[in-house]
Amino acid sequence: MSKDLDRLLKCFELASRIRSVEENIVKEYANNQMRCPVHLSIGQEIVSAVVGLNQRIQDTAVSSHRAHAHYLAKGGDLYKMIAEIYGKVTGCCKGRGGSMHLIDLEVGFLGSSAIVGNSIPIGVGAGFTHKLNNSDALSFVFLGDGAIEEGSFYESVNFSAVQNLPIVYICENNLYSVYTGLNMRQPATRNIYEMVGALGVNAVKIETADVVNCLNLTTEVINQARLEKKPIFIEYDTYRWLEHCGPNDDDSLGYRPAGELSKWKSEDPISKLENILVSSYGVSSSSIKEIQNKISEEVSLAFNQAKKDEFPTLEQSVTDVYAR
């Protein structure tokens, strides 16, 4: 198998797995057993996949409220995430955090946080640790276009530039903060990545439309950050297919321009990648099906086990206020 094909297959598998998990959450949410806010990444998975392929185990990552994809792409334990969303004691936070607070220290996923912009400086602190430890690790900070509007973002980028910290900012620009379009929040003539570049951090925009190119450019940029041990900012154009929070399609609300959602869906990076694998690399449709079946099986197992698990008791929920 060529190296290219191997990478593209892994990328396809990563993105498909994330989508499968999210689609299962959509299915299960209606049963009212996942009783916490969920912010799904359906439509945006490719970003996590191309970044995930370039993350090493010693790298750390932090993320925001929409973190399922980032957690899974970093290697976060699927079952513990699902159990967490069900509020079970076996969840990655013992049922204290829910969907918006994910953690898996074994793979360097330090945490995700519900307050927009909140985890950015925490990721910068982790990057500071990598620098002080003379480590080769990178600190990945996942954020969206909304977080760009927070003071903590500006403060963090500034500090990482002053201190030259090994941080990779991954900005998923999905055009919306809740229901408010980017054009109502930021000036139309200003590109996010250009603004960040002006703050003194190397910043690029990578288009997701050409999936193969997206993966290759991402690899190039992250390799450069690893080599230079300097902060880097990558803006990806992407699109959230479902509502801001919850499992539903919300196109009927009318806050998106007519045809915008269907256009993005017709450009689905996962379908595109599948087509490329089949038509350009000769991957058989049965091999694709095999990958998808393997994913379905794993996801079903995780959901079934999580559903059976126990809720935390009161006694289990009042510990750990302080570390000892």
């Binding site: 936070c93 013992k94 607070h101 330090l110 909140n118 985890s119 003071g151 903590s152 403060e155 206020v321």
Partner: protein, 358 residues
């Protein structure tokens, strides 16, 4: 750098010596803040440390209170022990997200997997026209947040020990220093041995049977003065210096109240939802029958503090106000007592050598 031959020292110097001690003994400790490397060294409390330990241990920061606090959390969960400082508490209000949503909750929220050992030094201003946004005493806010510890030292003799105990604690600790405590001079022989000091322990620093005063920070300093004068009038006060507001040492408070039956809480914060009110509530709920009279509080008024030194004396209580309140609570006419020695010629400076500017 540290002049240990001198027989006297002060509160600010004790802080610096504490920082020096932990930097020397624990390589995971870092100092971060705006001004920690500047020529004034945060009122002298960090002077010389950057030269001694270098820029990776004593880290100058941009004016970015919120992100810097979050960066401290990020360092703390990945193995470092940052000691952060803000020259005025009021500026730290910009960091409430990182303090409340990150530092305080991280350990609990993520199932006890990562602790956040950071110490955040906040200095409160007092006098010399500090005004509405440089003199706020908001310690009660921090006590309202589960997961935080709040230390409020009052004495030069144990501030160093309390600071070291705060830094060694595996949790986020808010360490509140009143600017006027900084100039408190003591003889080195009165310095408390580090090893005996714990967070969460109050101390009865003056003993008496007639009434209990509970105080912390500069309120303790003011109370000591009142208590010493009242003793000359054969009025004996139990003075509880809290040192830590959270976790609160209720046992020491309760046993003093059970002894005296009378309680006055002196609190530099404003009246409504004050920490003084919390102590009154705790005592009433658990020791109501020990009380011989209604407990009282002395606090700042529920009004922002103006700047003009022509009027600020009306906004700050002093040792005389404390003495008068004690006498009232004991059914005595304060006019019959000479309290003039409790009044300073200049009320808006800690001593005659203090000339601001902040």
């Amino acid at each position: 750098m540290l002049d240990k031959k001198n027989s006297t020292t002060d509160f600010a110097q004790q802080i610096k010596e504490g920082l020096d001690e932990v930097l020397a003994s624990d390589p995971s400790t870092l100092i971060m803040g705006l001004g920690v490397t500047d020529p004034k060294g945060v009122f002298g409390t960090t002077l010389g440390l950057s030269e001694k330990y270098g820029p990776n241990r004593v880290i100058e920061t941009p004016t970015s209170e919120n992100a810097i606090t979050g960066i401290g959390v990020g360092l703390a969960i990945t193995g470092y022990r940052p000691i952060m400082v803000h020259q005025r508490l009021d500026f730290f209000l910009l960091a409430m997200d990182q303090l409340v949503n990150s530092a305080a909750k991280w350990h609990y929220m993520f199932g006890g997997q990562q602790s956040v050992p950071i110490t955040i030094r906040l200095i409160t201003g007092r006098g010399w026209g500090q005004g509405p946004t440089h003199s706020q005493n908001l310690h009660s806010w921090f006590t309202h947040i589960p997961g935080l510890k709040v230390v409020m030292p009052s004495l030069a003799s144990d501030v160093k020990s309390l600071l070291i105990a705060s830094i060694k604690d595996p949790n986020p600790v808010i360490f509140i220093e009143d600017r006027w405590c900084h100039v408190q001079k003591i003889d080195r022989s009165s310095i408390v041995d580090n090893s005996g000091v714990e967070i969460g322990k109050a101390e009865v620093i003056e003993h008496g049977e007639d009434l209990t005063i509970v105080a912390a920070g500069f309120s303790t300093v003011q109370s000591i003065r009142a208590v010493k004068l009242l003793r000359k009038f054969k009025i004996n006060i139990d003075l509880v210096d809290l040192k830590t507001l959270k976790p609160l040492d209720t046992n020491t408070i309760f046993s003093s109240v059970r002894k005296t039956g009378k309680l006055l809480v002196v609190d530099s914060g404003s009246e409504i939802s004050s920490f003084a009110s919390e102590i009154i509530s705790l005592v009433c709920r658990s020791n109501f029958h020990s009380l011989k009279s209604s407990p009282e509080i002395i606090t700042a008024p529920d009004i922002p503090e103006p700047t003009s030194h022509g009027v600020t004396d009306k906004f700050k209580f002093n040792s005389k106000d404390i003495a008068i309140k004690v006498l009232e609570m004991l059914g005595k006419d304060a006019n019959n007592f000479d309290l003039t020695e409790l009044v300073d010629s200049q009320y808006d400076v800690p001593n005659s050598s203090f000339t601001g500017p902040f």
